[in-house]
């Protein structure tokens, strides 16, 4: 089937809101080149589980495409129309399995050396969309907080090196009650700006009490998801063993198997009070590499995805020691919460993770006004980035967390 052959009934198996969106934009979808359409449908098919920011972005995209003149539409799509795909792709069920199509598309683009052309087309398309449908900066500045170093009594590591040029390094922070104060700060922002999925707390271990859904905060933690991660690994190991017996185990089939795992497979259907968040967690575990085995990777990737997808006003991430490195076959079978930990290595992971969180926050609208704070938990070192903070500066002024937050806001 080609895009021009699309009919309303092709979307009968989509969730209700996704189906409505597809049907409403059927005329547009029929004109989108084959190299782009299934990628777009990956967004559409999950519409019911998307965060409000994602839904708004998709709505804006369709509105923009609908209003384009035929010639402008053709010009926008021309780079994708120039991508050559094998005819067999049209025979796949790309409407109902767009994710699988995307995986095959990626493989084909690399093997036919068209990946650079596709990358260029995608970049141009995104730039045009962003220029034509800019998202407004948030009503209040975004604020991201990263807490690192849990379990490390002292370190010789020069912390926050890549961040130092952008903010002020505090070397005499009074650590007492620092974590409590950060939680109070989070909760206050959530109370002041009660918007769904706008205030996130991601913890690499057991989360701090009184900082969750009751306070209007979207909470996810590695300790809560470790069982789901282990279940994912068990299911995948079984699949690989069975596929190997049929001589059918390869990277593509395994990837497709993992991508198809859902809430029920991972045992997350028991807590459906927040189905959108549960779907997010499934994506973190099934699409993120290493999120299943290392809590530090879980925190970094979850923060990246939360910022990219939900565009929160406030984000608190707290790293905990991950399990020690072991042979991969052991990592992929054992309970990560019952192993010896590597606190020093986790601090190095978290230090880099903090930098990546700042980069990801900087990609969002309103970044010029955003605030970012990273703190070595329980210690006197923190770094603050804000319009009010000097860049590439160091301060040895004694200050508690309240004072630093006050300077930043």
């Amino acid at each position: 089937m080609q895009p021009s052959d699309l009919k309303e009934q092709n979307f009968d198996h989509y969730p209700p809101e996704a189906r409505a969106l597809a049907v409403e934009n059927l005329a547009t979808l029929r004109r989108v080149p084959f190299a782009l359409l299934p990628v777009l449908l990956c967004e559409v098919i999950d519409y019911d589980w998307r965060f409000p920011a994602e839904q708004r972005a998709l709505d804006r995209q369709f509105a923009y495409l609908r209003e384009l003149s035929p010639s402008s539409f053709a010009a926008l799509m021309a780079p994708f129309a120039g991508i050559l795909l094998p005819p067999k792709f049209a025979a796949t069920d790309w409407v109902n399995q767009p994710q699988r199509f995307s995986e095959r598309l990626s493989t084909d683009l690399w093997s036919t050396l068209q990946i650079d052309a596709y990358r260029k087309a995608a970049t141009q398309y995104q730039n045009r969309l962003q220029a034509a449908t800019p998202e407004k900066a948030p009503a209040v500045p975004r604020f991201a907080i990263v807490v690192v170093g849990q379990g490390v009594a002292q370190t010789s590591l020069p912390l926050f090196r890549p961040l130092r040029p952008h903010g002020t390094l505090f070397t005499s922070v009074q650590p007492e009650h620092g974590l409590d104060r950060l939680v109070q700060f989070m909760n206050q922002r959530a109370a002041d700006h009660p918007l769904a999925y706008s205030h996130w707390y991601i913890d690499g271990g057991i989360p701090i009490a009184d900082c969750g859904s009751r306070q209007g905060i979207t909470l996810t933690s590695y300790s809560a998801l470790a069982a789901a991660a282990l279940e994912e690994l068990n299911l995948t190991n079984k699949f690989v063993e069975q596929a190997a017996q049929r001589n059918a185990a390869n990277a593509e089939t395994v990837q497709s198997f993992i991508a198809a795992l859902g809430l029920e497979d991972l045992g997350l259907e028991r807590n459906v009070s927040d189905r959108v968040l549960r779907h997010f967690e499934v994506k973190v575990l099934t699409e993120g590499a290493g999120t299943q085995v290392f809590s530090t990777t879980f925190v970094q990737w979850s923060a990246r995805e939360a910022l990219r997808r939900a565009q929160p006003l406030t984000l608190l991430t707290r790293y905990a020691p991950r399990q020690r490195m072991a042979p991969m076959d052991e990592l992929l079978k054992r309970n990560p919460l019952q192993q010896a930990t590597d606190a020093e290595g986790s601090l190095i992971d978290a230090d880099m993770g903090a930098y990546y969180t700042w980069i990801n926050q900087s990609r969002l609208p309103g970044s010029e006004d955003a605030r970012f704070l990273v703190w070595y938990e329980g210690h006197s070192v923190a770094l603050a980035i804000a319009p009010s903070m000097a860049r590439a500066a160091t301060s040895d002024e004694h200050a508690d967390m309240d004072k630093i937050l006050g300077w930043m806001t």
Binding site: D116, V240, Q255, A289, T296, T297, D329, I348, M352
Partner: protein, 385 residues
């Protein structure tokens, strides 16, 4: 986008060049004046070549940039002062480790599925070498990091007469064979058998091997007990590979030796500390390989060593990637890497700033050792030959 590509690759080159000038404390003119064409004194048929590739590229941020230099003391302080350093080696092919390494070995961008058990389509450097110079099978070896590389030594034979490939040795297979399924220390040594970091779930750890114990003893001239005992002293799979390489050098002294190191690809797990450890270990092992060459009379004074990552890793600033973790975006930094060459004929402390292609390696080796590489698509690097 092309402008951006050019701009970024130029910036990378500047970083490396400026580093070299400040760290090495020399100028291009000095380099040239110090050059003595010692290669002329080594007859071509006595020359040896060692190629070290990294499967799982390392970025400038963790290596040549100021904050990364602490991770590569051996490359910086021991090897670069003796090397011709190419600052821009661009890989325009598929950024998967096996297919990219196969492309390095054929001089053609291979397009097969990275995770498939297939041979390169085009003739390898080993086939060109053995066919043209009439070398025996034991004169060309590949020490490969994982299951997927086991067919890298010999092309599919469509374009070239079969039977001239390199012998491929998979140290992990050897160890698995030596240990057997019931060895009392097997669990302790499992960490040396890790096959792939990129798709660990779809690549079962090697529990079976077709390499016989007798073959192990024959090749390496070590007993089963010695081999497993030595393995217990090692901390990584790459150390095992270098140990096997040194045994090969001692026992067979092959003239064309290719080793691919893989530890740093643990970056796919997302743990930055493990990635850094991998880089530091690789740096140390490169120094040890060069020392092994210098201390072995069969290699000293007649060996050229090339060191190059197969490609880079994603930039921190590419929105579709996740920084150091993967090499999936195809962004300029994931495609741009470096190469160094060391040896008696190679200009020490010399920098090549112009863009080169990953495919240039095979024609360069052909020019160095005086054999044709007719299907290779790169060009000999004039500054190295």
């Amino acid at each position: 986008m092309n402008n951006l590509f050019s701009k970024i690759t130029r910036e990378r080159a500047w970083t490396r060049r400026e580093f070299l000038r400040t760290a090495a404390g020399a100028t291009g003119a000095t380099f040239v004046s110090q050059f003595h064409p010692l290669m002329a004194s080594v007859e071509i048929h006595r020359r040896k070549t060692v190629v070290v590739t990294f499967g799982g590229g390392a970025r400038d941020e963790e290596t040549f940039a100021p904050q990364g230099q602490e991770n590569i003391p051996h490359l910086l302080n021991e090897l670069i002062p003796q090397a011709t350093f190419c600052t821009q080696l661009v890989n325009r092919g598929i950024l998967g480790h096996y297919v990219a390494t196969a492309s390095l070995a054929t001089g053609v961008y291979e397009t097969f599925d990275n995770f498939a058990n297939v041979a390169p389509s085009h003739p390898t450097i080993f086939e060109y070498y053995r066919h043209a110079l009439g070398r025996p099978a034991d004169d060309a070896w590949v020490i490969a990091p994982s299951n997927g590389f086991n067919r890298i030594g010999q092309s599919s034979g469509i374009k070239f007469a079969p039977g001239y490939g390199a012998q491929v040795i998979l140290p992990k297979h050897l160890l698995a064979a030596a240990l057997g399924p019931d060895h009392p220390r097997r669990d302790d040594l499992n960490f040396l058998l890790q096959d792939s970091y990129e798709n660990p779930l779809s690549t079962p750890v090697m529990s079976h091997t077709d390499v016989s114990i007798s073959r192990l003893s024959e090749i390496l001239h070590v007993s089963l007990e010695e081999f497993t005992r030595h393995a217990q002293t090692l901390s990584s799979a790459d150390e095992l590979s270098v140990y096997v390489m040194r045994q090969l050098m001692r026992q067979l002294a092959p003239s064309l030796l290719w080793i691919t190191l893989h530890d740093m690809d643990v970056a796919h797990s997302g743990a930055y500390s493990l990635y850094i450890e991998g880089i530091q270990r690789t740096d140390r092992l490169c120094g040890e390989i060069w020392q092994a060459i210098q201390s072995d009379p069969e290699y000293h004074g007649r060996t050229t060593m090339f060191i190059l990552p197969d490609f880079g890793r994603d930039s921190d600033f590419d929105v579709s990637g996740n920084g150091f973790q993967h090499h999936r975006t195809g962004d300029p930094l994931s495609r741009t890497t470096w190469m160094m060459a060391l040896g008696p004929h190679v200009r020490p402390n010399f920098t090549v700033d112009r863009p080169l292609d990953s495919l240039d390696l095979v024609p360069t080796l052909g020019a160095l050792l005086d054999f044709p590489t007719p299907f290779a698509q790169g060009k000999p690097i004039a500054e190295v030959i």
